[in-house]
Subunit: 454 residues, 2 copies
């Protein structure tokens, strides 16, 4: 494989950069055309890599790409999942380079070479490793599995269209494992495999006070300011112990056994390094749990965006008509995303004072899930990564969410396997997203070896 | 005067519309050139109206316009103050017409004709009445006073440059009264004269959590979210009784006597109409005070803007690095703007938890002031308005702020007189700002009569 990488390195980067140049931002209407272009680019890449068929499938939202190579109907089948949509690049002023003009640059701290672009890691860079591992296996006559690829264009907006599409194409998608690279590992020195992810619930809250923006001098002090009311509502959502203060929120949360907590605590973690990386003096979270537990096994609530009134330059004196917040919750097994979303919505309606009106818009969410580490796929992945990294990977719990995987698991009746090669340093979803070249090639080799051991 | 109005109506509108078409938004850097253009347009209007001199005076910020007509050094002198800068027009999508393309349209509710444009009332429409009243008096040989005009371009951003300019040009500005039309009256049926205005304190607060935007799944639940912290800080600034919860905030507030409160309560006020006008179910304010008292004689705190994280379309999952708020306070005699601003800044630094950093940027403010209703100028204004409206005007307290007037009062040693002809329906500082033609002409006649009785 090393030889193959050396011979094809330049072409790999050229192909990946072509993909990264397409601003496939699923959340923004203006990029609708780019979504189609990106889907077609993936079909081309799959066909070039040796797929026997690949096509763009329309959905009610952004299209799905599906391609496959069936070598023997009786051989085991790997279904590779990835997503070609990316997070919005904003705030643009914080990027050091153009988010949609990929470049290879040394990391400002370590000097290691990385690809800088929106999607460099999440998930174009990671799904691309799978196409190239497949190409290598096929070219070198080593492919022993049927391989299917499903790439969606709506992961970053909660995959609203995929479950129905998967349901309608169940037979075409039949496989033995869903192989996914869309997560991180603990560090380059501590490879890990995700054995669970959190679910997601998300809604947008609008608080309306007066029916128009008002002069804050003429009305200030006499009527409720919607920014004030929104702030009070948000403040009340977390209690003094850092717990989410929505009645019933923790009702279905599975409490881990002491043994399970001990196993997860094997993952190395340095609180001082963590604080230094983020430049914070103190962490904050639920009482009684460690930082890794807070992100791995405990649910939480975060406001992802807030806006209202005058946000431009200078000192406009206005008492605004409305204020808005985007509120997300990360869920753990067995919290149901729909139930929790409705719980928050009902709670917000209940706590809103009668000086304002509230309007709630629900966004897509999804349930969390767990993966058994005893499965053949997990064991094959662990063996592959041990060979590449020289260390046995540890099982970990990712705090993020790929809500659609829980649904695919249910519809198709097969478990996902999360071999993620991202690192925290990659700052996915943030400005200056990047992906270390060393991780890209280690991932490529690990994936090829996974097929060998599976 | 009626004949003069009838003969010159079309020209008045043409001249005023020319002024309104210039987007002189002092808060926005991009309009720097428009500020100069607007100042020059005012010089031209003053000269056309008959001023013996008028010029644009540079300052460290936007320029000042000064013009005058001295008819007799021993005659009383009126100094007319106004401002040619306007509030930002945002949010633009809420305007029914272009904010900088004035039109005369019937009021959607009453059918009365009004001029719609940013600045139609505040303050271009109101200052223009003074130029035309002066023109009329001069043309008709009735001018018995020396008249000086000072128009500034920074009122909406707190007049940072004017006090120094006034100090430097004290002698040129010498007068007996500062005449201002930049406020509202209670209603068309209840003319009123402002006998006091609130002061203003304003600052911008930035809360920084992690040093970069983060994936809310990977970090959510483990570190402080700056939007959450900002919301908690804002929520804590008002207590359950609607009082500003900053230690020392009320220390210097002058409590009005029962007699003063009774006099102010003569102003008619219908709470149901007020709530219907704003489309709110309930008002909110400081316990123990009426709505008019809450805006007239009591100080308050309002968040004029808030922003942080992702505010675009869709459901981006981000734990942002920073969150921001613009916080204003309206002050009453004897609260000092600088003292109160520093009080809030120190309080915010104190209550910020050690999970975040705070940064505070101070904006311009100013003190409130009171005007004795026994003064000759007040009496002349009351007589003039009684003649035009057929009703004796009531003294009122405006909730807004023209901070620079308190400073001019101090520097020049003369009282301002606030003859404002705006109405609440004009929605100044908001989309669809307008000015009733009936009020424009009633104001013009009242001002001309003021000179007769002063």
């Amino acid at each position: 494989m090393q030889t193959y990488i050396l011979q094809n390195k330049a072409r790999f980067m050229e192909e990946l950069f072509g993909l990264l140049r397409i601003p496939s931002v699923s959340a923004q209407e203006v990029h609708k055309g780019d979504m189609g272009r990106c889907a077609q680019a993936l079909v081309d890449l799959l066909m070039q890599a040796g797929a026997s068929s690949a096509a763009v499938y329309p959905t009610s939202g952004h299209p799905v790409v599906f391609g496959q190579k069936i070598i023997d109907p009786s051989a085991p089948t790997v279904l590779v999942y990835g997503h070609y949509d990316v997070q919005p690049p904003e705030p643009l002023e914080k990027w050091r380079t153009d988010p949609f003009e990929p470049v290879i640059l040394p990391d400002p701290n370590t000097g290691e070479e990385a690809i800088y672009a929106r999607g460099a890691n999440d998930d174009k860079g990671q799904l691309f490793m799978h196409i190239k591992a497949f190409e290598y296996l096929l070219q070198s006559g080593k492919l022993r599995h049927n391989v299917k690829f499903i790439f969606e264009g709506e992961e970053e907006i909660g995959s609203p269209s995929l479950p129905a599409w998967v349901q309608a194409n169940k037979e075409m998608l039949a496989a033995d494992v869903i192989l996914v690279s869309d997560t991180t590992m603990i560090s380059e020195k501590v490879p890990s495999i995700n054995c669970g992810m959190r679910g997601l619930a998300y809604l947008e809250l609008t608080v309306t006070g007066p029916n128009k923006d008002l002069h804050s001098g003429h009305y200030g002090g006499a009527i409720a300011n919607p920014i004030q009311v929104l702030s009070e509502m948000i403040a009340s959502l977390l209690d003094a112990d850092g717990r989410v203060a929505i009645p019933g929120f923790y009702d279905e949360v599975v409490e881990l056994s002491a043994a399970d907590r001990a196993m997860l605590s094997r993952a190395p973690f340095d609180l001082d390094e963590y604080k230094a990386f983020l430049d914070i003096a103190e962490v904050r979270g639920e009482e009684g749990y460690s930082t890794l537990e807070r992100t791995g096994i405990r649910p939480c609530l975060d406001v992802c965006g807030i806006w209202g009134g005058y946000t431009g330059q200078g000192a406009k004196t206005v008492l605004p008509s409305t204020a808005h917040a985007k509120i997300s919750m990360r869920l753990v097994p067995n919290q149901k995303s729909e139930v929790i979303t409705e719980l928050l919505a009902a709670h917000l309606r209940k706590i809103a004072p009668d000086t304002v009106k509230v309007d709630i818009q629900l966004h897509e969410g999804g349930d969390g899930f767990l993966i058994p580490i005893t499965s053949p796929a997990y064991q094959a992945a662990a063996k592959a990564m041990q060979e590449v990294y020289g260390i046995e990977p540890v099982p970990s719990r990712g705090g993020g969410s790929i809500p659609v995987l829980a649904q695919m698991q249910k519809i198709l009746g097969i478990d996902p396997l999360l071999m993620g090669f991202g690192l925290e340093r990659d700052t996915i979803h943030s400005p200056n997203e990047s992906y270390l070249l060393s991780q890209f090639y280690a991932g490529l080799r690990s994936i090829a070896l996974f097929y060998q051991y599976y």
